[in-house]
């Protein structure tokens, strides 16, 4: 029997900055369009995690009156610092010597989750229907191969896939255009990139894993509006990464760490690198006496323009970081994600009006400022594959002297899951034990995310080969899932590979980094996952 279906003009998957922007812009262009947004989080913002120093350029275009309308964008960047960290030393890089992309004096320190909540209110006022707690779990195709829409997940299945008393069949949502805005490594995005060969001729996508904690600190350590970035210690010179420390409102500090997922040592634990980073004297002195009130982690895109797939297909668009519009040297993706949403809306509006296909998206995107800044930023990340020092020297030349206009484009050579070396070829890394004050273990951290998944449901982290973790990955790589997962979902217990899927915070790192691509992240039952507040 066919599932129940609802018809819309436009269905958007994901209520993040890109998806919400698309919906708002579409309603501005044509209030009569029927638009719905599906969101897997239990409420808008629950799965949003970002630094975030926000550039308002796209928002100025979308809702120029945002300040008057009460957008949660209040703290202007007042001071900037960039530090190179050695183990106990630090060297402050003069801000006038920073490349222009890393200057933030016009930007704001915000909570992206709260901005999304506000954008959702604006969208609902315009008549957009938003359904939190309903993950889109399946792409539906027309007979001619175009995208017909998406289906929501069946609810109320037990762990073996049998129907419980509360079983409720998923629904089909059909649309003239379906917009995929799931964020980095969206699981439907991954499927359609493959199906339509959207990454044909592009470099393999590059990812990072980002951590964030929110701290309430002592008044005298807090300088509202202060933005600090660091690179160097505790990472070795071959591993790409760095930190952010943002002094937000209400004595809160947003502190985080990003590590490129192209790291080589399977013993590296991104979570523990972040914890260790906080023990540097420069960082310790800010946090000491304060209290950690939130924790989270999420994978992010680092590939830039070289890895950006084609963003349109018959009946569908792939936008924001579901495609990969983040500007890595700028360490910002919200503004480009929103711009890609504005362009998506303009494309859909024109295509419905003139009954044309969606290929105009490409041209519009190429002519936009978003493309221009991604183009100028393109050589920074790949240059760091030569190591930190050469990367910095090259980036200085490329970004300050040539402003991203060098007549060549460096390539990303390998996908991140191919970068790990065998465990017997590398040195084991010993991490210091957490002290429970400044540094923490994974258990107490996952507790702060509020994540939960209803018990007795199918495991949403699927293994292609259930024996591979023990027979191969454990032997060759000492099963790095135990370390790259930021919340300890994966454990090896007495030659058994255990998946604690209840703890998953939907960061997607396993789906990216597993050396044989053996783990696939699929959507769990609606409402599952973290309950982030002002992340």
């Amino acid at each position: 029997m066919a599932r129940e279906a609802m018809e819309y003009d436009v269905v958007i998957v994901g209520a993040g900055p890109a998806g919400l922007t698309t919906a708002i812009k579409l309603k501005q262009l044509n209030p009569d369009l029927n638009i719905c947004i599906l969101e897997k989080g239990s409420e808008v913002g629950a799965h949003i995690l970002s630094g975030n120093v926000f550039e308002t350029r796209a928002l100025d275009e979308l809702l120029p009156m945002w300040e008057k309308e009460g957008a949660p964008i209040k703290i202007k960047v007042s001071k900037e610092k960039f530090l190179f960290l050695g183990k106990n030393k630090s060297f402050s890089w003069p801000t006038w010597l920073l490349p222009p992309v890393q200057k933030n004096h016009k930007n704001y320190i915000i909570s992206l989750a709260n901005l999304c909540r506000w954008l959702a209110e604006q969208a609902e006022k315009l008549g957009v229907e938003i359904f939190p707690g309903f993950p889109a779990s399946e792409v539906l195709y027309n007979e001619n191969g175009s995208i017909k829409g998406v289906a929501t997940l069946d609810m109320g299945l037990d762990k073996n896939g049998n129907k419980k008393d509360t079983y409720q069949e998923g629904m089909e949502l059909h649309a003239k255009v379906t917009v995929f805005a799931e964020g980095c490594r969206g699981h439907l995005g991954k499927e359609i990139i493959k199906r339509y060969n959207l990454d044909n001729g592009k470099n393999p996508q590059q990812y990072g894993i980002g951590f964030k904690e929110i701290w309430e600190v002592n008044e005298n350590q807090h300088k509202e509006g202060m933005v600090m970035h660091t690179t160097g210690w505790p990472l070795d010179k071959k591993t790409y990464g760095g930190s952010f420390v943002y002094h937000a409102e209400k004595k809160q500090i947003y502190i985080g760490y990003v590590i490129g997922l192209d790291y080589k040592n399977p013993y590296l634990s991104p979570f523990d690198e972040f914890q260790r980073f906080k023990t540097h004297p420069e960082i310790r002195k800010i946090l000491e006496g304060g209290k950690r009130i939130a924790f989270g982690a999420r994978a992010l895109i680092e590939g830039g323009i070289q890895s950006l797939p084609k963003m349109y297909m018959p009946g569908g668009l792939l936008i924001g970081c579901d495609a990969g519009t983040l500007n890595m040297p700028k360490i910002k993706g919200s503004h480009t994600a929103m711009k890609s949403g504005i362009i998506a809306a303009e494309t859909i509006f024109e295509s419905i009006k003139n009954k044309t296909d969606l290929s105009i998206y490409e041209k519009k995107f190429r002519q936009s400022w978003a493309y221009k800044e991604l183009y100028e930023a393109r050589n920074v990340k790949p240059s760091f594959s030569w190591g930190l020092i050469l990367g910095i020297i090259f980036t200085g030349l490329d970004q300050i002297l040539f402003r991203g206009k060098l007549p060549f484009t460096l390539k990303h050579k390998h996908a991140d899951h191919k970068s790990l070396e065998f465990a017997n070829k590398v040195k084991k890394i010993e991490y210091p034990k957490p002290d429970g004050k400044l540094t923490f273990d994974k258990t107490s951290s996952v507790f702060l995310t509020g994540t939960n998944h209803a018990e007795n449901q199918p495991v949403h982290l699927k293994l292609k080969d259930p024996n591979l973790p023990i027979n191969y990955t454990l032997k060759e790589y000492d099963e790095p899932a135990q370390r790259y997962c930021p919340v300890g979902v994966y454990e090896v217990q007495e030659e058994r590979f255990v998946i604690n899927s209840q703890n998953c915070i939907h960061c997607k790192t396993c789906d990216i980094k597993e050396p044989s691509q053996n783990i696939t992240w699929v959507t769990p039952e609606g409402g599952g996952g973290p309950k982030y507040g002002n992340m």
Partner: protein, 249 residues
Amino acid sequence: MKILVAVKRVIDYNVQIRVKEDGSGVNTDNVKMSTNPPDDNAIEEAVKLKEAGKVKEIVAVTVGEEKAQETVRKALAVGADRGIHVKADSYIEPLGIAKILKKVVEKEKPDLVFLGKQAIDDDCNQTGQMLAAILNWPQGTFTSKVNLKEKTLEIVREIDEGLETLEINLPAVVTCDLRLNEPRFASLPNIMKAKKKPIDQMIAKDLGVDITNRIQQLKVEEPPKRKGGIKVSSVAELVSKLKNEAKVI
């Protein structure tokens, strides 16, 4: 037959509670809110009775700030027919809530009032009992099973000694235990339909009841941090530690 179901908006059970720095309460900024879990059981049971043809109308009521309406909306999405939102901008103690609910009962004249057995925020476990008392109605608390008969209600209660089966006369107040049922999911079409169902608004202070709080809250503190355990080498040492250090024997 008509059932009135009371629902409350509380901090989601998955969220880690943070105490405000000044000790005046818990932090609700940027915190995910949900329906109090046993209230979901209360709604579910009412909907089941309606599906069984024993109940004609379900009215969901909440008392609270503007956003508490979301809780009523959710009840409407899983099967309640109408909603009532009694607006109140500040905290009201269980007795005040019971008095407000009594006013609603007098207006709506339901045969049954269902509530969650207690709310997970203040854990008072009083509202249902107080409502039954001031209405002078029979009450069935901690209910894990209901069997609605013509003029009476058979209930099974979860008590310390086991299960207690009672038969009470209607009209009655019933407070629901988590074991009563497994709440259903709201479906997309029902969420959309719920947006069109009516929610009547009332203002708490206009109802003519005394809702002044009688309890003065001195301070809210976090529970003390759990200390790590220790290993003892002998029974004698254990006994001595329990006696002298823990002072429990």
